[in-house]
């Protein structure tokens, strides 16, 4: 799906984010965020809950528009694209939703075949072969005729992954791929992410919290907090870069730059002591 002619001059960066600023409901999500996602690597984006990691993915796919800044995917400025161009771009991006988002009307086979049916006029035989190959890749060829409600969470996520890669995208965005998986399913998904990246050379972006899992698979980690990238590096080095953010995040401390308390007034005042004393 990737158009080689339109490749960026800087061939090593697939997604380039510059000065991204987003304000949602009066709250600043991103404050002049700069971020480069290298081509052909597995990049993990981490951060405290509510920092807008999912929002960042939606910016990359053009589902949300930024208030300021520029996002270039494969050299194209997402904000400048028309609907058709945006859809064309999205055909080259796979997106794995946190809750899989399989279409409940269709069985597993049709879910994986859905993008093919919508965007190609391939003969039925070819669609069948392609879908079965992708299902084989995620180990669920035998489950082709099950309905989504008959699948476990891990299976559903693998089906969603098969659907995301059915077009052989240049980029896969994983939104919390490890949430709610038992260790076996987690390892299966990890293995898939690695395999897809290594065998097909698909650039992968992971949004997740599970540090151990990320360490196994990621080439590069960004730590986002307060709308900025506060730390980055490979899994080995980032934990030791010495910033308070990494210390709290990777050291697992309850209090730190991310406060334990939600911003509030003085406790004594809230309980009425200050007023009563005077």
């Amino acid at each position: 799906m990737t158009d080689p002619v339109r490749a960026t001059p800087d061939d090593s960066t697939l997604v380039r984010i510059r000065g991204l600023t987003t304000v949602l409901n009066g709250k600043t999500i991103f404050d002049a965020l700069d971020l480069d996602i290298p081509r052909g690597k597995v990049t993990a984006i981490m951060g405290p809950s509510g920092t807008g990691k999912t929002t960042l993915l939606k910016h990359i796919t053009g589902q949300m528009r930024a208030d300021a800044g520029e996002i270039r995917v494969n050299g194209q400025n997402v904000a400048d694209l028309s609907r058709e161009q945006l859809y064309k771009l999205r055909e080259g991006i796979g997106y794995l939703f946190q809750n899989s988002a399989l279409l409940t009307d269709f069985d597993v086979f049709e879910n994986v075949a859905f993008p093919l049916r919508q965007h190609t006029k391939l003969p039925e035989v070819l669609i069948r072969d392609l879908v079965l190959l992708k299902l084989q890749a995620v180990g669920l060829r035998g489950a082709a005729r099950l309905m989504p409600n008959e699948l476990s969470g891990g299976m559903a996520r693998r089906v969603a992954l098969a659907r995301a890669i059915v077009f052989d995208p240049m980029l896969i965005l994983y939104d919390e791929p490890f949430v709610g998986l038992d260790p076996v399913a987690l390892n299966q998904v990890l293995k898939l992410i690695r395999t897809l990246n290594q065998t097909l050379g698909i650039t992968s972006v992971l949004v997740a919290h599970e540090l151990e899992a990320i360490k196994q698979v990621a080439d590069h980690i960004f730590l986002i907090a307060n709308g900025k990238v506060v730390a980055q590096g490979n899994p080995m080095t980032i934990a030791n870069d010495g910033s308070p953010w990494t210390r709290q995040f990777f050291g697992g401390e309850a209090d730190g730059p991310v406060p334990f308390q939600y911003p509030a007034g003085d406790l004594a005042q809230a309980l009425g002591f200050t007023g009563a004393a005077k």
Binding site: F106, D107, F109, E110, A113, E124
Partner: protein, 299 residues
């Protein structure tokens, strides 16, 4: 999945076909004329001088039992005769040739149908045959005249005598309206003409000769049966020893009450003007006494 898809398509197709079938049914069976096939039948012609309100598909009955229906009603070209085709069930194929087909009305306001009165002939009407003897539809006006009056005016001409009465207002009184005494019809209105000199209405009443002892000081009033009913002439007998004779004129008359006057009378609770007190009482009884505010003294 493709099987699933085609089954959706088939089901949806069936649904669409069913919908359009229902539409076709509504449009053809319930709105325009369409013949419903109800077993084997044969057709008989009948010519009527007047079909009244007879409609296609109206029932054809013998002794009140339905044996078929009206298939079509057309006007005979060049003639003032309606050609009615009757579709009669094959079970009833022994209708005598001299049977009489009459257009009847079920009830006063009901629908019209064709009643067949069997004749005595040995021959029966065949498919495509004609019932020669018919009676046209009765017009409501004539029927009312018959009900309330003493029969048709022309029929009883020999048995009546004429009395004249002058009214300042006859309201909606029409020729043929009944003349009643004590609520019983004793004759009918023969003619209503405007008097060019006295500027009132001169009404000629044809009264049955049996009632030849009506006092000559009796009064005549135009009443309405009920609030919206037809109007008739009521005769209030007087006390004179002499009786009315043919050609006499009744002196005491009360004109038709207009509905507005009546209501006005009820509301002001008084008798503004009335030539005879008895008629006033009868009026109140005849009208809607229960609705009228009664005089305060009676309570």
């Amino acid at each position: 999945m493709s099987q699933q898809r085609s089954s959706y398509a088939v089901g949806t197709g069936l649904f669409i076909v069913l919908g359009f079938a229902a539409l076709a049914y509504l449009a053809t069976q319930t709105s325009s004329v369409a013949n419903v096939h109800q077993g084997a039948s044969y057709t008989v012609d009948a010519h009527f001088a007047n079909i009244g309100q007879l409609k296609e598909r109206a029932p054809v009955k013998v002794a009140g039992v339905r044996i078929g229906q009206v298939q079509s009603i057309t006007l005979e070209p060049g003639q003032e005769v309606a050609d009615v085709k009757l579709k009669i069930d094959n079970n009833y194929d022994k209708i005598p040739l001299d049977s009489v087909a009459t257009i009847y009305t079920s009830g006063l306001l009901g629908d019209q149908y064709i009643g067949i009165l069997y004749g005595t002939s040995k021959k029966t009407v065949a498919d495509g045959g004609t019932l020669a003897l018919t009676k046209p539809a009765q017009q409501l006006e004539e029927m009312i005249g018959k009900f309330f009056g003493a029969g048709g005016v022309a029929d009883n001409l020999g048995g009546t005598y004429s009395v004249k009465a002058d009214f300042t207002n006859v309201g909606a009184l029409s020729v043929g309206a009944p003349v009643k005494m004590a609520g019983v019809p004793i004759g009918s209105v023969q003619a209503i003409v405007a008097d060019p000199v006295k500027l009132d209405a001169k009404v000629t009443l044809a009264i049955d000769k049996r009632y030849n002892a009506i006092p000559d000081d009796s009064s005549a009033a135009v009443f309405t049966s009920g609030l919206i009913g037809t109007q008739y002439v009521a005769i209030q007998p007087g006390g004179s020893p002499d009786a009315l004779k043919d050609g006499d004129e009744m002196v005491l008359t009360q004109s038709a009450m207009q509905l507005e006057d009546l209501i006005g009378k009820f509301l002001v609770n008084g008798s503004s003007s009335s030539s005879s007190p008895s008629s006033d009482k009868k009026d109140a009884g005849n009208g809607k006494s229960s609705d009228t505010p009664a005089p305060a003294g009676k309570h």
